[in-house]
Symmetry: C2
Subunit: 216 residues, 2 copies
């Protein structure tokens, strides 16, 4: 896979060794997430809105209520920035200065467009459901026209993107390793708990297999 | 505690029942997080940058390298949006339309200013360290002038903020409760793993008590 070509917009300004522009670095970080943060501006005022997203090739999708301010704005094609962050740990160094966090993040730049054609929109929503819970789309009560109308789906072709990653132990100043300070990493993980069936679940419905091996 | 007064900028456009503007709702969501997403614009191009933050009263702080583009921009006082999101679960309804996620999020609006006075800057960094790891600041090798200079701290007085929260089971259409579809919630949690001491840890240093009851 080739790399995205960074312009000044996505090129890392510091800690270049943590930055990457190739799809091999960027795709896995995007695909490991469910919730992203979408940035857009209205009259110079920035907004950062969390939302679910999914990826197909170089295209990022997200969706929501057609009444959503964020969707009404970004679907006009204004510049957008979609950021995905995984917080992986606290890095406790021997000095405050070298303390840090471990993380994986991607900033993706582009302009979104509405996916309005009915079949394409439905296929996009199916891809989202199937990504999280393979096999579930076929079980669900199909979406009706009113629901499809009330839902806006947008797609953003990634124009450029950068990944930034930090892993591992602190990198302290050489002379600080002799200090009597505990140093190390406190790992942070996002886990899924045991599924909680709806108390109104129809009797006789067993837990579907797509919930067996949830891995977010 | 009083509520923030929403203008069009922070007032929820839909699902009003999920929105709140009072500090009793907003502070706990802010205080439960470590990483936020800061939104700002340069020449109409929005950027969304993840960073650690902390709160004191109505003031949000964040920091980083003085070379950081984000910090160099926001410290000029341009409009900013700081968003904190906790992803709490997948809500699997009997239809795609009513499927959702459980979450707690806050969008806070304001303009940041640099904390440049040395004692105030150091106190802010101490507050950050102590918030995460109470007692650790006194253990650390003190910051030197060069490190303080290489670190930028900014503070943003919250002008307005809104919280949005979803909890609990799906709310399906009445007629869908008879369908043969599993429905419920898959809880998502952020947890801390067992601390991993730096292999270069000086022998004889035991794990500090502030790591015993980590709760993020």
């Amino acid at each position: 896979m080739t790399a995205f070509t960074p312009t000044d917009r996505s090129r890392a300004k510091r800690l270049h060794q943590r930055a990457a522009y190739d799809r091999e670095s960027i795709y896995p970080i995007l695909d490991a997430g469910v919730v992203c943060h979408v940035g857009y501006s209205i009259d110079g005022q920035p907004y950062v809105t969390p939302t679910c997203y999914w990826r197909e090739g170089d295209r990022l999708y997200w969706h929501g209520s057609s009444a959503s301010r964020m969707l009404r704005q970004v679907k006009t094609g204004i510049p957008a920035c979609l950021t995905v962050t995984h917080f992986d740990g606290l890095v406790l160094a021997r000095s405050g200065f070298h303390s840090s966090i471990n993380y994986r993040c991607v900033m993706a730049f582009g302009s979104a467009a509405e996916v309005s054609e009915k079949a394409e929109k439905s296929a996009a929503l199916e891809a989202f459901v199937e990504r999280l819970t393979p096999g579930r789309w076929a079980e669900l009560r199909p979406m009706n026209d009113q629901e499809l109308k009330a839902t806006t789906v947008v797609a953003m072709e990634i124009e450029e993107a950068s990944a930034k990653t930090r892993t591992g132990q602190p990198a302290d100043d050489e002379e600080d390793y002799t200090l009597d300070v505990w140093a190390g990493v406190v790992p942070i993980r996002q886990i899924t708990g045991t599924a909680e069936p709806d108390p109104k679940l129809k009797p006789g419905i067993s837990q579907p297999s797509y919930l067996d091996h949830f891995d977010l």
